[in-house]
């Protein structure tokens, strides 16, 4: 703990890169990931909710698990500014939503075509 403090108050930057997470953050991320995997499995395999509710819950659980892995495993917060990796990720997600959302939208409203 004391070491962590020195790293933050002392020579900034260098050690925060070196530090890259602790055992605690990995265990937290692992436990959260397991919980976020079990919830959708239980709901789908036991037919606990109706179709729409199931879809919403399993999709939210997947996105939350993405966030957990980004923060606890991939340490997205621990890079130096400017955060080019975050900017690149945002661009990637915009392209992803455009490609996936656009494909679904076009193909659902144009069923005659195929």
């Amino acid at each position: 703990m004391a070491q962590h403090k020195t790293a933050e108050t002392g020579s900034h930057g260098h050690d925060s890169h070196e530090g890259h997470g602790s055992l605690k953050s990995y265990v937290t991320g692992f436990v959260l990931s397991i919980v976020l995997t079990i919830i959708p499995l239980v709901i789908v395999l036991n037919d606990l909710l109706n179709r729409t509710a199931t879809f919403v819950v399993i999709f939210v659980a997947a996105v939350l698990q993405l966030v957990v892995q980004l923060f606890f495993f991939m340490h997205i917060r621990e890079t130096e500014k400017p955060r080019w990796n975050v900017m690149g990720l945002v661009l990637g997600i915009i392209i992803l939503i455009t490609v996936v959302g656009g494909s679904i939208w076009i193909m659902e409203y144009n069923k005659i075509g195929y």
Partner: protein
Amino acid sequence: MAQSVAHKGKHSADHDHGHHDPNELKILGFWFFLISDVILFSVLFATYIVLRQNTAGGPTAEELFEMPGVIAETFILLTSSFTSGLAVLAMNRNQKKQLIGWLIVTALLGAAFIGLEVSEFVNMVNEGATFTTSAFLSAFFTLVGTHGLHVSLGLAWMIGLMIQLGKRGITETTKGKVTVISLYWHFLDVIWIFLLTIVYLMGVM
């Protein structure tokens, strides 16, 4: 306090580049590769979602998917993502044996994942559900197979890295490589979560 200062001193001795750490740029470059991979997978996901109902008289997702195997694959890959993180922690403590040990555990879990996936594919083909059976199955094998190929390449890469770590130990170069491969491994786990959700869970619900 004194101990922590000494510890820090030892670290900067072999790692004293301040803000101009060459690994930082390599890791950023690897991030951009991962983002380009996100775009690759977004196209394959879009194709699968659009074609998933087009079974052309062949088996449907619900008839085909065996959830026990998929659940096992999920937890194996999730655990291997965690153990690759433990490898990075061992590297940060400069413990070469533990680092290689956790990489071996990660690689074994990855190999178990690939083994299960291959047997899943073989079972499907034996049931007559091949790549050419329907548009649904073409999209399915392309999407899930591309992820499996990524894991297989990661395995070969990890074995190469373990050999290099054994020969050269933890150096500035190998440190960057371990960091990058653990990022890659976490990324593959994230892709798998979306495969599980969109392909398997939505297929059987």
